[in-house]
Amino acid sequence: MRSSDLTFKKVKIPLLSDSISAGFPSPADDYTEENIDLNEHLISNPFSTFFLRVKGDSMINSGIKDKDLVIVDKSLTAKPGNIIIAMIDGEFTIKRLSIKNNELYLKAENNKYPDFNFKNHIDIQIWGVVIYSIHSYL
């Protein structure tokens, strides 16, 4: 099964466009109809992958900004160093899974935000691993 079976919005970017309207047929005609499907390239586990929207700047130092779209793969098991999504106290949070003195904790990439360790917060559930973030420059 390919990602095309999913109801994800497809973004299709034509590789070549036929712009010759008269005269000789385009020598490129035989090579058209190929599209880059970002779903196919970015998502290897379509049935475990979800899109989420970032609100706020707690990960600003790692380049993830307010309003960015993040692609999350829930089939991956989080490892230290991964940017992850967790459920804490009824909210989604985005943090880096980090390790200090042999203990795992969730680190914000912005000095203004506190870290979370698993001891003080009983109700932390790691929800998925962030595989990409998409930022709009417009």
Binding site: M1, S48, L52, F92, D123
Partner: protein, 430 residues
């Protein structure tokens, strides 16, 4: 080719626990660990409960208005059903299960029969535990897995897995010593394929549970219940009679019907509702390459109403069609036949029957549409469908659907989270 050693092949019935509630809790963190109920269309009855809501002894099927206040005081979260979310999660679930099994038959939105080869040591528990872990991690959904030799017994095993606390959601009916004790726990009306009438007859003959049906006089069973009963009894004994059906049977009809948010008393409202259902049904047909040659509509009052009314009307066509414009004309005409000003109508629907696959379709000799016209119509329909797909539904529709809908479905309590609409995906708030 994979070898088909039937003695090695096991059948499992896998279903999701509290599927709708789990889908909501999985993508809405604020719902996690909260008592939650989901309402049917039009926010009518309770159709799903989270484990936390079950623990509060909230019952299935009761009308929302009757318990609204008590739910509120108990702090229960109430949501309208969000079928686009459940449909997407179901698709994900079934595709993940496909990768864990030999063959899969999708049986409903949240259950599937799968066939699986038994390992040398015959123990499928490690496999079942892995499947449960995988689905919980990937989708946040808890499964129940019943394992046996065939479908009827896999269904029973699934029931046992649910009822026996120590089973941890997995029950293998083949690997137990005291099978009779377990089969006795399953009363006949709970057996897959036994309807109400049959179960009354069985009980009158003193056959009360699965063990007694398995051991009942074969001649008596076949005489009364025919080949269906014979197969059922054979499956109870451990034979495999009902194969897994991996290919979806072609649909016999396509139905679009909904209850109204407010009862309809005006003809123009009924016509509009039926027109919108007709547009949806035509779209569904085209997406499956089907054409219909019998179009039926119906309208009725509420089941709870003291003055029951139900009427249907149909039209047979010489040429099967999937053209929305043609179908709309017919449905608008027919709507006058089912309309009555005397009753408050609460539900209506459109049925596309006598479906044929476009590939095998024969054009009638007396063809009213010229070839050129039908080609144009086909192109128009295809363009509309692809635009609607691209811009998320109803970018283009017929004028009748765009007028204000006074009767449309209530879904006042829809959850914000979506996995299918980029504008409504969950937010990461901290």
């Amino acid at each position: 080719m994979r070898s088909k050693n039937s003695s090695n092949e096991a059948m499992a019935l896998i279903d999701a626990n509290n599927f709708y509630a789990s889908c909501e809790q999985s993508i809405n963190p604020h719902l996690r660990k909260k008592p939650l109920v989901i309402l049917s269309n039009n926010d009518g009855c309770i159709i799903a409960r989270s484990p936390e809501a079950r623990a509060l002894k909230i019952k299935m099927g009761i009308p929302y208005f009757k318990v609204k206040e008590s739910l509120n005081s108990l702090g229960v979260v109430v949501l309208s059903s969000n079928y686009s979310l459940y449909g997407d999660m179901s698709k994900r679930l079934m595709n993940l299960l496909k990768d864990c099994s030999e063959e899969i038959e999708i049986y409903s939105i949240d259950e599937a029969f799968v066939s699986i080869l038994r390992p040398k040591d015959k123990n499928l528990n490690p496999w079942a535990r892995k499947v449960r872990c995988l689905i919980y991690q990937n989708l946040g959904i808890t499964l129940t897995i019943g394992i046996a030799e065939n479908k009827v017994r896999a269904k029973i095993a699934n029931k046992l897995a649910k009822n026996i606390d120590s089973s941890a959601g997995i029950f293998d009916l083949v690997r137990i010593n005291n099978e009779n004790d377990y089969l006795r726990k399953i009363s006949v009306e709970k057996i897959w394929g036994i309807g109400k009438q049959t179960s009354i007859w069985l009980q009158s003959k003193g056959i009360k549970n699965a063990k007694e049906l398995r051991d009942a006089d074969e001649n008596k069973i076949i005489k009364k219940l025919g080949i269906v009963g014979k197969r059922l009894q054979l499956e109870l004994k451990g034979n495999k009679c009902l194969p897994i059906e991996t290919i979806k049977k072609q649909k016999k009809e396509i139905q679009v019907s909904r209850s109204f948010g407010k009862p309809i008393t005006k003809l123009e409202d009924l016509t509009q509702a039926l027109a919108i259902y007709a547009i949806k049904a035509s779209e569904k047909m085209r997406s499956q390459n089907l054409k219909s040659s019998t179009i039926t509509i119906f309208a009725r009052t509420s089941h709870y109403s003291n003055h029951a009314y139900q009427k249907s009307a149909y039209k047979k066509l010489t040429n099967a069609t999937d053209n929305t414009s043609t179908i709309l004309k017919i449905v608008v005409e027919l709507s006058k036949e089912v309309y009555t000003p005397e009753y408050k109508l609460s539900k209506a629907g459109v049925l596309m029957q006598d479906l044929t696959n476009c590939k095998y379709l024969q054009q009638s000799i007396i063809n009213y549409e010229s070839q050129e016209d039908s080609k144009k119509a086909r192109l128009l329909m295809r363009t509309i469908d692809s635009l609607n797909k691209k811009f998320n539904n109803e970018a283009i529709t017929w004028a009748i659907a765009k007028k204000p809908q006074r009767w449309s479905m209530n879904r006042n309590l829809l959850s914000p989270g979506s996995t299918t609409d980029i504008k409504k995906i969950p937010n990461i708030t901290r």
